[in-house]
Point group: C2
Chain length 186, copies 2
Amino acid sequence: MEVLFATSNRHKFNEAKEILFNANVNILHFDFKHNEIRSDSLEEIAMEAATTAYKLAKKPVFVEDTGLFIDALNGFPGTYSAWAQKKIGNEGILKLMAGTANRSASFKTCIAFVNGKTKGEARTFTAECKGQISEKPRGNDGFGYDPVFIPEGEQHTFAENASFKNKHSHRYKSLLLLANHLATDD
Amino acid sequence: MEVLFATSNRHKFNEAKEILFNANVNILHFDFKHNEIRSDSLEEIAMEAATTAYKLAKKPVFVEDTGLFIDALNGFPGTYSAWAQKKIGNEGILKLMAGTANRSASFKTCIAFVNGKTKGEARTFTAECKGQISEKPRGNDGFGYDPVFIPEGEQHTFAENASFKNKHSHRYKSLLLLANHLATDD
């Protein structure tokens, strides 16, 4: 089966391609620049984007939206994570967390998929990876918040171990949910 | 002349009502909850919102969008200022600015007005107030970022002197531009 991944982020595409290849799904890149809606819900944002992408591509297509939700910051940067990363970076996140004992956070990914059969409606697959914000940025792999996020039960950040990231992350889990759906979708 | 101010923020409405009353413009509150578009441009956001408000109200209506743009933070929180205030507050802003020598920032307001005569097109009025981010929050008047913003050439924050705010602020200036336009609009 062949589906499009609509994203303007090459990092995300390459990561997804590798994961889905191992699940026997071949994806093609659909270069998609889209003005996402404002919402605190990943699901709402992803569903609207997937519906729009399907109208343009007219082929089975998915989008994903990921956010880092930090408990002590009321869920900041949340659904605005990509924007906040550009503006204040990991340095800003660590400044905001300075002196904060509760460092709990979670990465959440929502994939919205439109296959075109059911009136263009999107189906969503959401996964989460709980963890902690590190005291300092660590590691050179990955991108975005990877250097400051330590998944639950581990000592290393996502950026310190990319293979570990693919095996345990929110994005990996949501992509497997999608792959499983594609394998059984008729 | 009577126009509607579309906003869900009572603080903003009361502030505008006082300022425009002195310029002989009476405004009515149009309670307007709207999912703004994502953009780094206040003008784009305000124009889209005003156009939508006009479709609902079918009367001359304006909206305003204000953002605090901090130079050392690449313009953060910018067009997401209201959201960032809810999430990290002034405490978060001061943490992000800790140890930062360049404390320059500017408040910008864009008002978009639709009178319904010109195919529903919005006209915009933008004003700016340059200043500095304070080292600590000061004052109890005002709202939002007022306690941490010191306008250029002054020693006090907006929250320490509300009348001073109305006389010198970005929002005041943009409302006067609107009032001037209304006085000459035929």
